[in-house]
């Protein structure tokens, strides 16, 4: 069994520049920030390393970090600088009973993250959910379709984005109350 700090040190030695930082100050579980293009190789390492063996992806969630920056100039025009979206990975090793959390942060205007579907099959539907609700594109995902919303829901409309607006009608049915 290893603590998240030890796991962080191991990762740091293995992938020096793609492991960004270790967040331990927040009043939530500690997590390791990983760069979006490296998440696949980091995950593979965590799963295959004999002393780690993270064989279970407990959860994968997409979030909107709610950090768009709005500025209003003198004429009252609003400009929005898009913020970030995140994906959190909660890993557990059944063999060693240790846990670690990873987080990948991407810019809203280019929300692309490597898929980990071929490492943990669980990720297939979880990634589809994160895509459906938040709009994160998982590269190399075998079947990235909407999973909960109707298939013909408006393209690029992801309901759990903070700036989401509900359409007035869907297939002729009024949506607002």
């Amino acid at each position: 069994m290893r603590t998240p700090e030890e796991i962080y040190e191991m990762l740091k030695n293995q992938f020096s520049d793609s492991i960004l930082e270790f967040e331990s100050e927040l009043p939530v579980e500690k997590f390791i920030n990983v760069s979006p293009s490296q998440i696949h190789s980091v995950s593979k390492y965590l799963k295959d390393h004999l002393d780690l063996q993270f064989d279970c992806l407990m959860c994968l969630s997409g979030t909107d970090d709610n950090n768009d920056e709005k500025t209003t100039d003198e004429d009252g025009n609003e400009t929005v600088v898009p913020g970030t979206l995140s994906v959190y990975y909660n890993l557990h090793s059944i063999k060693y009973n240790h846990k670690v959390n990873l987080r990948v942060k991407v810019q809203k205007d280019k929300p692309e993250v490597e898929s980990v579907e071929n490492i943990w099959k669980t990720a297939n539907w979880h990634e589809r959910e994160a895509f459906d609700m938040i709009g994160i594109k998982f590269l190399n995902h075998p079947d990235l379709r909407r999973i909960l919303m109707p298939e013909d829901w408006e393209e690029g409309s992801h309901p759990l984005r903070k700036d989401y607006e509900n359409p007035e009608f869907y297939q002729g049915m009024k949506v607002p109350y």
Partner: protein, 165 residues
């Protein structure tokens, strides 16, 4: 008022109006489409089970819309489901009845404001005969809803559906 408390003329002969007979037959065997949507469906299932015994009113679940007389919309109608409900309704033969069970299918329920995926009332896609309030309604409330539906059928006329009582 049933048929059997009508006048008996001779022996086993019952005298009744054809309309009454037809309505009585209809209201005594409302076969519901076996169909549950969310938490309300649990109460509907409880109503069907032995303790509340829906069957004593002639209500039993049928798995095909072609053989069903009524749908109990028991739960949250999502937009995705609403299109399917509409199709199921259209597949049912006339006469057909709808009981809307619970706040969700009456008006959107707890999802009325932020439910981006919820239809705010199933009556936006199909006509509802009886609304049963509650979240979820107790089985007694659903039974009351059924009795209301029976009352409605009892007062139907052959010439006009849904005649007023």
């Amino acid at each position: 008022m049933g048929i059997l408390d009508k006048e008996f003329a001779e022996g086993n002969v019952v005298v009744a109006k054809a309309e009454d007979l037809l309505n009585w037959a209809r209201l005594s065997s409302i076969w519901q489409l076996s169909f549950g949507l969310a938490c309300c469906a649990i109460e509907m299932m409880a109503t069907s089970a032995s303790h509340y015994d829906f069957d004593r009113f002639g209500v039993m679940p049928r798995p095909s819309p072609r053989q069903a007389d009524a749908i109990i919309i028991s739960g949250t109608v999502t937009l995705k489901m609403a299109t399917r409900i509409k199709r199921l309704y259209e597949q049912m033969p006339d006469p057909k009845y709808i009981i809307s069970m619970g706040s969700c299918s009456n008006c959107g329920g707890p999802y009325w404001e932020h439910g981006y995926h919820v239809l705010k009332g199933v009556d936006r896609v199909i006509p509802v005969d009886v609304y049963v309030p509650g979240c979820p309604p107790r089985p007694e409330a659903l039974l009351e809803g059924l009795l209301k539906l029976q009352e409605k059928i009892r007062n139907e006329s052959m010439r006009k559906k849904n005649a007023n009582a």
